[in-house]
Amino acid sequence: MEINYGKEYIYDSADLDRHEGRVIEDLKAGSRVSIPDPDAWLEEGRRNILLTSVDAIIDWARRSSLWPAICFPACCAFEFIAANGPRFDLSRFGMEILRASPRQADLMITAGTLTWKMAPNVRRIYDQMPEPKWVIAMGACGISGGIFRSSYNVVPGYNKILPVDVYVPGCPPRPEALIYGIQLLQKKIAKAHAVPDLPKLPEIPRL
């Protein structure tokens, strides 16, 4: 078949852009309040509720093989990759598999600044992850918007659109700090029930 390079886009890109713009505006309007952190486990831990031995085994399996999903907007991504590298080895915690597909991941490490344009995509990735799933907000931009907080396009913290379990400060946090955050998450998983109770989030429309 003759390839005709003279053809420009065969789809209506303006229409697609308008639809995506509406999705972004809706998400922005609906994210004024932070989503509360799922920290019910702290209270339970204080009350010393005993877990069954099945729970203990499931939790051990889950926390020792956390597979992160790829979500690398910005600079923190390179500290995460360095943490995965040969020097600060994350694979000793069972995390060397960086899953490209969110369907096979259970941890989302948000490494970078979140912008309103990117927000629906990150939410979609989070929604596609099967439960149980956890989120680590990495870096100052993940916690509160960081150095860019007063900008027009920056979401002031990932907890506006996702429930966050662990916050790792730093700009960017050193790989050692990230590993400490992951160990805190592992402690949380050790004390959790087999089926975590995550808040129900509003749906993002399909493309």
């Binding site: 308008r18 713009g21 509406r22 027009y152 396009n153």
Partner: protein, 147 residues
């Protein structure tokens, strides 16, 4: 060493070739009128002893009464550079001819100026917002934009 050409040298040549292309008092900083922008730009690019074939950047500055679009060109052969500018008056719907026909590198940069300042470029192959989404209200880098 790239020599930044002083405006006076080029201004004389441009004035003889395109009389009336400069705004009033615009000869010292090469302030060109918007309608003669394309002629001046093509002359600067094609003339063999000028040959400014490399566009460093196109940017806009908001000076309340007008938007000033600044161009910097470099001649790789003669190792010289020059800055010239033009103004788009009015805040409601400022327009400017596009130089993407001469330097293709201006493509994304003019889209950025349209997105962040609101200056529309006539003759641009694909003028739409580049960094912000369709449906974003306003143009953020304007001085009178608030939230």
């Amino acid at each position: 060493m790239t020599v930044a050409l002083p405006a006076g040298e080029i201004a004389g040549k441009l004035e003889t070739k395109f009389p009336g292309c400069f705004e009033e008092g615009g000869k010292d900083n090469l302030l060109v009128k918007a309608d003669s922008l394309l002629d001046v730009a093509a002359f600067l690019k094609d003339q063999p002893d000028l040959k400014f074939d490399y566009l460093n950047y196109v940017t806009a500055v908001d000076y309340y009464a007008y938007f000033e679009i600044v161009y910097q060109l470099t001649s790789l052969e003669h190792n010289r550079s020059i800055v010239f500018r033009t103004r788009a008056y009015g805040r409601d719907n400022p327009t400017m001819p596009s130089v993407t026909g001469l330097w293709r590198g201006a493509d994304f940069q003019e889209r950025e100026i349209f997105d962040l300042f609101g200056v529309a470029f006539t003759g641009h192959p694909n003028l739409k917002r580049i960094f912000l989404w369709e449906g974003f209200q306003g143009h953020p880098l304007r001085k009178d934009w608030n939230g």
